[in-house]
């Protein structure tokens, strides 16, 4: 009889619900977020911003502000010692707008002050007089594409134009469906507002910045250039990060805070309020997408045509990369041989847009999943069947010519989602908190209609188009203590937990110390693009494996054994061919080992003029099914349940995976029915949590999630990034459910009450 005993994974290792090393401090209120940083003799900083979206600065008069008691310094563009410009892809955004130059969006920084109290700062800002020559803002992207708008910036009004052309364009479908879709501007709305503490070096020739960011080394590069300092004179330490979701990829207050500290010779903290935060970071691109699908009578897609326009706002940020993500995901997770796509990312006087969770794919997915329901209806096929019929598989070729060589369990995701039980019907006499309108007690039970909708998506992982976004990690053993160091921004996702899980698993130890997250080690790349589990996980794994190999070599030499036969088993080192066994803790107590490793993903390519090229590293997939209750007369929606199955490669921490999925779904729900930065004539009309509506506890649906675990051989840990897919196809799933309930076309998200009821 064969008896195999599988012992459960050791507590805190890969695959378990390890506890967060920052958890106790976070629940007790002692965890130091960047807004909690404090230093002796510290000053407060604040930023003066343009109220106009498009104007020339005629003059700036700071004399009255200087007279206010407690004001220590006022800085403008004239005080920027280095380059008065920054930006992730091109440096087109001024640190401060200069006299004689333009302000290009409402909220553009013009000056900064440092003073003894936040209230003093506020009064000083009010005392600065700026004279403007005001122009009509350029707010229509089509005017920029047509070349009819005045030039907003010397770099031009089009950030990027890219086409994708593939296959036989003469192919026509038996069935053709098309639509014009619009996606509103969403805010990341992290709760931990932008904040930083800058401490100048005593000689005044360097600075240390405690900052909540997604990528310390990229920040340092841009800050040093603006300050005119060598990079080694700018040291960044990660301040506690209260969420990110893409909004901390770009420079906001980093340069201003350092500049004030260097000018005063004193520590300076800047902390934005919520309104300023809406002006201080980039948002999700609003987009207009036209899409036409051609299919055979039985529902097979034969050609897709599309045109996408992303409004990048006043400065470039990551607009060119967001555009590429959008257009290269036009087909969604479906087979398609023939396509023509025309994509534009343009400059306007609207608020600058850049990275947000999903990065261009959210917009494309909303359009293709709306189309899939139209196609299903036109072919008379069930919405689930048409998605299964067209589901992509490993080895399929994308419209860019790239072959999908990731694990691609699209069909499994759809089938597993469909197998999740639907929620019970709405009761005849429901609790008012369970129906559309909730506590407002507005919906009438007899009016409520239930709808079901689907969304399925593909998302690229890591950076694209030739970018080598490598990650670095260092693992040390000293006096029997294992420590790991990296510059990976922990923004809430739990990488600190994962790093410990990896080290415990590889090295067979229980205690793993984490060194400070700062720029005293190589770059980790950005906490973006669902990439840190793969990239920094890969780097930590490689560093720990290098250390483990040295430990095993030491044991082999000491005991005169063949190192090839030694392995870590639990917390022991064992001879796999014999009975030798020794505790790791005993071996390492007198060892000193220090290994640093870099992890690089395979190189990728730029797209050519026809949008062809292996531009992405890897892909993940997910399916969503939404159930909604709608009161069509009042336009009120309650999202009852979201069922999902997600391709994750391998679950490394079950609770963390569930947390990412539930959190992403809430954000996707926000885009579907609640969240939009309303911009009219270049001005944000709702820069507050009173007017920008975020999903609350009562808005969040019941989430039923399953994970599709198929080990991804390309990934160092077999796992795929989990962060972005949850928020992508849930938005069209909810929109499709509302369409199913109401019969309305609803081409735009967020779907507002008047879109449904008028």
């Amino acid at each position: 009889m064969n008896v195999s005993v599988v012992s459960p994974p050791r507590s805190g290792t890969l695959g378990t619900n390890a506890s967060r090393p920052d958890g106790v401090a976070k629940v007790q209120g002692g965890f130091a977020f960047s807004s909690d940083m404090w230093a002796e003799n510290m000053l407060w900083g604040a930023t003066l911003r343009s109220p106009h979206p498009f104007a020339r600065i005629v003059s700036i008069d700071v004399s009255a502000a200087w007279k206010i008691n407690g004001v220590e310094v006022i800085v403008t563009a004239d005080d920027v010692p280095g380059l008065n410009a920054y930006g992730l892809i091109v440096q087109d955004q001024p640190v401060f707008a200069k006299v004689g130059d333009l302000v290009r969006y409402s909220g553009e920084p013009i000056a900064a002050v440092a003073a003894d109290h936040p209230e003093t700062c506020k009064r000083a800002l009010e005392a600065i007089k700026v004279e403007y020559e005001v122009f009509n803002p350029v707010v229509d992207p089509e005017e920029c594409i047509a070349g009819r708008a005045p030039e907003i910036h010397p770099h031009g009004n089009v950030y990027r134009h890219q086409r994708i052309v593939t296959g036989d364009l003469s192919v026509e479908g038996d069935v053709v469906v098309e639509g014009d879709y619009e996606i509103g501007m969403q805010d990341q709305a992290f709760l931990g507002l932008e904040a930083a503490l800058a401490i100048p070096d005593s000689g005044g020739d360097g600075v240390e910045l405690y900052i909540a960011t997604q990528w310390l080394h990229e920040d340092r590069k841009q800050i040093a250039a603006c300050l005119g300092l060598p990079e080694e004179k700018v040291r960044l330490v990660l301040g506690g990060v209260g969420g990110a979701f893409g909004a901390r990829e770009d420079i906001s207050l980093q340069v201003h805070t350092c500049l004030l500290a260097l000018r005063t010779g004193r520590p300076v903290r800047i902390a934005y309020g919520r309104e300023e935060s809406f002006y201080g970071h980039v948002h999700r691109h609003p987009a207009r997408i036209w899409m036409r699908h051609h299919a055979t009578r039985d529902g097979r897609i034969v050609k897709i045509e599309s045109r996408m326009v992303f409004d990048g706002g006043a400065y470039c940020s990551t607009s060119p990369a967001v555009l590429i993500n959008g257009i290269t995901h036009t087909q969604g997770p479906y087979k398609c041989d023939n396509a023509v796509v025309d994509g534009y990312a343009v400059r306007t006087n609207n608020p600058p847009c850049g990275a947000m969770r999903g990065f261009g794919v959210v917009q494309a997915c909303y359009a293709h999943e709306s189309q899939m329901d139209k196609l299903a209806a036109a072919c008379g096929i069930d919405p689930v069947e048409i998605r299964l019929l067209n589901a992509m598989e490993t080895g399929d070729k994308l419209i860019t010519g790239q072959v999908v060589n990731s694990v691609a369990p699209v069909e499994e995701c759809i089938r597993a989602t469909a197998a999740i039980p639907l929620p019970p019907d709405l009761e005849s006499d429901p609790d008012f908190r369970d129906i559309p309108g909730g506590s407002g007690r507005t919906a009438d039970r007899s009016h409520i209609r239930r709808g079901i909708g689907w969304g399925v998506s593909i998302k690229n992982l890591m950076y694209s188009e030739g970018f080598d976004d490598y990650s670095t990690a260092r693992c040390r053993i000293s006096n029997g203590v294992v420590s790991v160091k990296f510059a990976t921004a922990e923004v809430g996702q739990g990488f600190v937990m994962l790093a410990q899980q990896i080290a415990r698993t590889v090295l067979g130890v229980d205690e793993v110390l984490l060194d400070t997250i700062d720029t005293q080690v190589g770059s980790a790349g950005s906490t973006s693009a669902s990439r840190q589990t793969w990239m920094s996980g890969g780097a930590v794994n490689a560093a720990c494996v290098a250390v483990r190999d040295k430990v095993l070599a030491h044991v082999a030499q000491y005991h005169d054994m063949d190192v090839a036969n030694l392995a870590v088993d639990g917390t022991d080192i064992v001879d796999t061919r014999g009975s030798f066994r020794v505790a790791v803790a005993d071996v390492i107590s007198h060892l000193d080992i220090d290994e640093t490793a870099e992890y690089h993903h395979p190189p990728t390519e730029d797209l050519d003029e026809n949008g062809q090229g292996n531009c992405h590293v890897a892909f993940a997939f997910v399916a969503h099914r939404a159930v909604v209750d709608v009161d069509p007369e009042l336009g009120l929606v309650k999202v009852v349940q979201v069922a999902t199955a997600q391709d994750v490669g391998r679950v490394l921490n079950p609770l963390s995976c569930v947390g990412q999925v539930e959190g992403g779904i809430a954000q996707g729900l926000g885009l579907a029915v609640m969240e939009e930065i309303v911009v009219t004539n270049g001005k944000v009309r709702n820069p507050s949590f009173t007017d920008y509506l975020l999903p609350t506890f009562l808005d969040a649906p019941d989430v039923e999630a399953v994970f599709i675990e198929e080990f991804e051989p390309k990934s160092p840990l077999g796992a795929k990034g989990v962060g972005e897919p949850p928020c992508i196809s849930v938005t069209p799933a909810i929109a499709n459910a509302i369409r199913n309930a109401t019969g309305r076309e609803l081409p735009r998200v967020p779907i507002r009450p008047y879109d449904v009821c008028l």
């Binding site: 629940v27 002692g30 965890f31 407690g70 992290f190 931990g192 209260g242 908190r433 809430a666 506890f697």
Partner: protein, 168 residues
């Protein structure tokens, strides 16, 4: 700024008397707790009572400390997240947030912890809907609330079973 309209006043926080000197009289309770009393647990995220990150308990009521003038809280009993665990140890609610995976970035967490203590002290056996409604003034942008709901339910169950054991 320090001298404008300032006078000394006293706040009672977590059972201790704190003297607030040389402050500007316009400061909110949130600002004074964080910047003058060394209690940074309450967080500011909206400044208008919409997000609940700054929740503290004042005389048995859960309130947004960003909306309270610090000087007006004289004579009241104030409890913050720092004062909830017995002798610096974790309260059952704090432990449950960790066990259930209710903490990601953690910025909303202190406000939630205070609000959940307040909820369960006044309603030891809340339904799911009662939990959701009571906590709908606290916004979390990371978790989607699912793990937080689990955390609250776990505390509620364990408190009731403890109470039952005590009654035997």
């Amino acid at each position: 700024m320090t001298a404008i309209g300032s006078e000394m006043y006293t706040l009672s926080v977590n059972g201790r008397e704190h003297h607030v000197r040389d402050s500007w009289i316009g400061e909110s309770l949130l600002f004074v707790l964080r910047e003058r009393l060394g209690l940074p647990g309450a967080k500011g995220a909206c400044e208008q009572g919409e997000c609940g990150s700054c929740t503290v308990i004042i005389d048995d009521k859960a309130v947004c400390s960003c909306l309270v003038m610090a000087a007006s809280a004289q004579g009241a009993s104030i409890r913050t997240v720092e004062g909830l665990g017995p002798d610096g140890r974790l309260s059952d609610v704090q432990q449950s947030f960790l066990d259930a995976g209710g903490v990601q970035c953690g910025f909303c967490t202190p406000g939630f912890i205070v609000a959940v203590h307040h909820l369960l002290d006044s309603n030891p056996d809340p339904s799911d809907l009662e939990i959701k409604e009571a906590l709908s003034g606290n916004i979390c942008r990371c978790t989607g609330y699912g793990r937080i709901l689990d955390a609250v339910k776990q505390v509620s169950v364990s408190r009731r079973s403890t109470a039952k054991d005590g009654a035997r």
